[in-house]
C-alpha cells in the first residue's frame, strides 16, 4: 500500500465533505446552539433557584429554642414571625420569599406547612432543612451542629472498589455515558457515509479511472479514514462546545459542581469505537460495492447498523442485569460490544477477561471486515446495472473472481 496515495484520497475526500454547507451547519452551528442554550438555561435556572429574600418561620410548636440563622452568610436567611397570618401576609406583600409553619403538634407529627407565592423553590426547602437541623442541634458543640445540618454525601461503591457513584458525582457517570452515546451515533453516521462514498463513485462513473490509478485497498483505506476524520472533527467541535457548556453549567447548576471527567472511561470508549468504526465502515463499503443504487445499499446497511443499536434497544436488560448472560454475549459480539461496554461500565464492574476478549474479537473483526470489503469491492466495482448475486459475493470472498 502506498501511503502517499492513501493520504491524497484522505485529504481530498475529507476537504470535500467538510466544506459542505450541511456539515458546517451541524459541526459548528449545533455546538454554538448547545453553548448558548446551556448558558441561557443556566442563567434562568440560577436566577430561579436563587433565594434572594429572607424566609419566614412560624414556630407554633416551640421546637426551636434559639431560632438563629446558620453562620454562613450566603445561606438562606430566616426571620421568625409570630403567627401564620403575619407570615402569609409577608409572603403576599413580597417581604419574604416563602413561609414555613411548624404545626403545634410538630414534636409528634413533624408536620410543617410551607407557603410561597409561586412554586416552592428547592433552594428554600434545602435551606429550611439545614436551618431546622442547625437549630434542633442547638446546645451541641459548633462542629457537631455544622455536621448535623449539612447534607450527607452518599457514595455507592462496587464490592471490588473499582466503581463508585455518589449523589454529588452522578454526573461523572452520566456525562461520559452520554458522550459515549453521541460518539457512537457519530461513528455509525460516518460509517454509513461509506455506502454513499462507494455508490457515488459508481454513479459518477469515476470508478474505472480510480481503479486504474490506485489499488482498491488504497482507495478504500483513504475513503474510510477520511470519513472517520470527518466524524471525529464533528465530535471535536461538539466536545469543545460540551466542555464550554459544562464550565458554564458548573457555575450555575450545583449538581455539576463536583463533576470530574472520567478519562479512563473515555479512553476505553475511544479504543473500542475505532475498531467498531472499521467493522461498520468496511461492511457498509462492501454493501455499496455489491449494489448499484444508494437505496438498495442503504437497505443492506440496516443489517449492520441495527445490531449495533441493539444494546440501546435492550438497555433495560443490561441495566437490570449488567452481568447477565445477555450482557456478556453483547459484550463479546463485535457489533454490539462498544455500546454494551459503555453501558455496563457505568453500573457494574466488568470482568477483565470479558474486556480483553471483547477487544481482541473487535480488532480481529475489523481486519476481517476491511479485507472482505476490499474483495467484494474488486468484484463489484464495475457493476453499474446489476447488483452482485450472493453467489458472486461468496466467490469473491473465497478467492476473488474478476
Amino acid at each position: 500500500m502506498r501511503l502517499r496515495l492513501v493520504w491524497v484520497v484522505l485529504k481530498s475526500e475529507y476537504l470535500r465533505r467538510v466544506k459542505r454547507r450541511g456539515y458546517l451547519l451541524s459541526a459548528l452551528l449545533v455546538p454554538l446552539i448547545i453553548i448558548v442554550g446551556v448558558a441561557i438555561a443556566g442563567f434562568l435556572g440560577a436566577s430561579a433557584e436563587t433565594v434572594t429574600k429572607p424566609i419566614a418561620v412560624v414556630d407554633q410548636a416551640g421546637a426551636l429554642s434559639s431560632a438563629e440563622n446558620l453562620p454562613n452568610p450566603n445561606d438562606v436567611q430566616f426571620v421568625a414571625y409570630p403567627d401564620e397570618e403575619a407570615a402569609i401576609a409577608a409572603v403576599n406583600d413580597g417581604t419574604v420569599d416563602a413561609a414555613f409553619v411548624l404545626a403545634p403538634d410538630y414534636a409528634t407529627t413533624r408536620k410543617v406547612t410551607a407557603y410561597s407565592a409561586g412554586d416552592l423553590q428547592r433552594g428554600a426547602q434545602d435551606g429550611f432543612r439545614r436551618y431546622m437541623r442547625w437549630n434542633l442541634a442547638a446546645g451541641l458543640p459548633e462542629d457537631l451542629r455544622a455536621r448535623a445540618s449539612d447534607e450527607m454525601d452518599l457514595v455507592a461503591r462496587s464490592l471490588d472498589g473499582t466503581r463508585e457513584m455518589s449523589e454529588s458525582t452522578w454526573p461523572n457517570v452520566v456525562i461520559p455515558f452520554i458522550a459515549a452515546m453521541l460518539f457512537f451515533i457519530t461513528v455509525i453516521g460516518s460509517a454509513s457515509d461509506a455506502v454513499r462514498a462507494v455508490v457515488d463513485e459508481k454513479e459518477s462513473r469515476t470508478m474505472e479511472i480510480l481503479v486504474t490509478s490506485i489499488s482498491p485497498n488504497e482507495l478504500m483505506g483513504g475513503k474510510i479514514l477520511a470519513l472517520f476524520a470527518v466524524g471525529m472533527t464533528q465530535m471535536a467541535a461538539w466536545g469543545v462546545a460540551a466542555a464550554v457548556a459544562l464550565i458554564v453549567a458548573k457555575m450555575n447548576i450545583p449538581e455539576l459542581s463536583h463533576f470530574q471527567m472520567n478519562w479512563s472511561f473515555l479512553i476505553l470508549v475511544l479504543a473500542m469505537f475505532l475498531p467498531a468504526y472499521m467493522i461498520t465502515a468496511g461492511l457498509l463499503a462492501a454493501a455499496g460495492a455489491a449494489t448499484t443504487e444508494l437505496r438498495e445499499a442503504q437497505q443492506l446497511a440496516t443489517f449492520v447498523t441495527l445490531p449495533s443499536m441493539l444494546p440501546a434497544i435492550l438497555s433495560f436488560v443490561i441495566l437490570t442485569n449488567p452481568n447477565g448472560l445477555a450482557s456478556t454475549i453483547m459484550t463479546l459480539f463485535p457489533l454490539t460490544a462498544p455500546l454494551t461496554v459503555s453501558m455496563r461500565w457505568a453500573f457494574t464492574s466488568i470482568p477483565i477477561w470479558q474486556l480483553v476478549a471483547s477487544f481482541v474479537i473487535l480488532v480481529a473483526s475489523a481486519v476481517g471486515s476491511i479485507l472482505l470489503a476490499a474483495r467484494v469491492f474488486q468484484a463489484g466495482m464495475l457493476r453499474f446495472g446489476q447488483r452482485l448475486s450472493w453467489q458472486e459475493i461468496r466467490q469473491a470472498v473465497q478467492g476473488g473472481s474478476r
Binding site: V8, R16, S204, R205, E208, I209, L382, R402
Partner: protein, 313 residues
C-alpha cells in the same frame, strides 16, 4: 520490445464468450487501432490489459511484465464509461486525478493548466464539472487521461460526443503524443474516424480478431486493381480497363492485371477531349473492409451500429 503484448487471450462472462483467442502487440511511437462494432469485445480486451478483469486463458505482458500497481501511473486510460466528480471545480478535479497517478500537486496543476489551454477549456477551469457542456466534459476527461504524461495511452471511443473542431483538436493531440514516442491504443467502432490516424490495427468481431497488421498493407491487399477518376467529358472505352461503374459522382475503373494506375492516368491526360478533375487509387474504407471480411466469414452482412451492450455492463 513491444510495450503491450496480448497473447491468445479469452474471457467468458456466464454464457457469453466476450473475447476468444485475441492476440496483439503495441509498440512505442505508434497509434494502434482496436476496431470493431459495439459489443465486439474491445472494452473487455482493454480491461484485461489493465487487470480490471482477469483473462480465463492467455497471457498479457504490459511494459515487460505482468500488470501491477506501479505501472498504473505509466498508463493513461480514457474509459468508455465517462465520469468526473460533478460537484468539484474542473481544475481541482483534474489535479486530484493526476495526483492519484503519483504526480506532485504543483506539477499536476501546471500540466492540467497546459492541457486546459490546449483543448480550449482554460476559461472553465474554476467552473463545476456539472456546469460544463457534454463536449467540454469529454475534453476534460481526455485531460484526465494525459495530464500525468503516461507512456501508454488507451482511449476507448475518444471522439464520442465531440464536434468536428474538437475531433480535430484531439487527433492533433494524439499525433503529438505519437511523435513524442508514446504508444496509443485507440478503441472505437467509428472506423472511418480513425483510418487516417492508425499505424496498425486489430479488427475484432464477436470477440475474435479478424484482421491484424499495418493499416496500409491491409488496405492495399483489399484494394484490388482499381482507380477512381472524375473527368469532364465522355470517358468512353479506356485501354486496360475491365469494368467501369459510377461511384459518388466519379467512375470506378477495374484494371486488368497488366495495367498500372499510372498508365491509365497517362492515357487519360493525353486525351484532348477530356479534362481530368480527380484521380486516385481506389483504397477501400475500413468499413468496406470490415463488411467484406465479416461477410466472407459468415455469409451475412453485419449490423455495424447494432446497439449491443459491451461485455459486462
Amino acid at each position: 520490445m513491444a510495450l503491450v503484448e496480448v497473447q491468445h487471450v479469452s474471457k467468458r462472462f456466464g454464457q457469453m464468450q466476450a473475447v476468444r483467442d485475441v492476440s496483439l502487440e503495441v509498440d512505442q511511437g505508434e497509434i494502434f487501432g482496436l476496431l470493431g462494432p459495439n459489443g465486439a469485445g474491445k472494452t473487455t480486451t482493454i480491461r484485461m490489459m489493465l487487470n480490471i478483469f482477469r483473462p480465463d486463458s492467455g497471457t498479457i505482458i504490459m511494459m515487460g511484465g505482468p500488470m501491477n500497481e506501479d505501472k498504473k501511473a505509466r498508463i493513461g486510460y480514457l474509459p468508455e464509461e465517462r465520469g468526473l466528480y460533478r460537484e468539484l471545480p474542473l481544475l481541482e478535479c483534474l489535479v486530484y486525478l493526476a495526483q492519484l497517478k503519483g504526480v506532485e500537486k504543483a506539477a499536476a496543476e501546471k500540466s492540467v493548466r497546459h492541457y486546459l489551454e490546449q483543448l480550449d477549456l482554460a476559461e472553465s477551469a474554476n467552473k463545476k464539472v456539472k456546469d460544463l457542456s457534454r463536449g467540454m466534459q469529454q475534453k476534460a476527461q481526455i485531460i484526465a487521461t494525459v495530464a500525468h504524461e503516461p507512456e501508454l495511452l488507451i482511449y476507448d471511443e475518444p471522439f464520442q460526443g465531440l464536434d468536428p473542431v474538437n475531433v480535430r483538436r484531439v487527433k492533433d493531440l494524439m499525433e503529438e503524443q505519437r511523435a513524442s514516442g508514446k504508444a496509443i491504443i485507440m478503441s472505437t467502432h467509428q472506423m472511418n474516424q480513425v483510418e487516417a490516424l492508425c499505424d496498425r490495427i486489430l479488427l475484432v468481431n464477436r470477440g475474435e480478431g479478424v484482421l491484424y497488421g499495418r493499416l496500409a498493407d491491409i488496405q492495399s491487399s483489399f484494394a484490388g486493381n482499381a482507380i477512381r477518376v472524375q473527368v469532364e467529358g465522355e470517358l468512353g472505352p479506356v485501354p486496360g480497363v475491365l469494368a467501369m461503374h459510377p461511384e459518388n459522382g466519379a467512375q470506378r475503373l477495374t484494371l486488368d492485371e497488366h495495367t498500372s494506375p499510372q498508365a491509365v492516368l497517362a492515357s487519360l491526360c493525353g486525351r484532348p477531349d477530356l479534362k481530368v478533375l480527380g484521380f486516385e487509387v481506389a483504397t477501400p474504407s475500413l468499413d468496406d473492409i470490415f463488411i467484406s471480411v465479416v461477410t466472407d466469414a459468415s455469409g451475412e452482412v453485419p449490423d455495424l451500429h447494432a446497439a449491443a451492450q459491451e461485455a459486462i455492463t
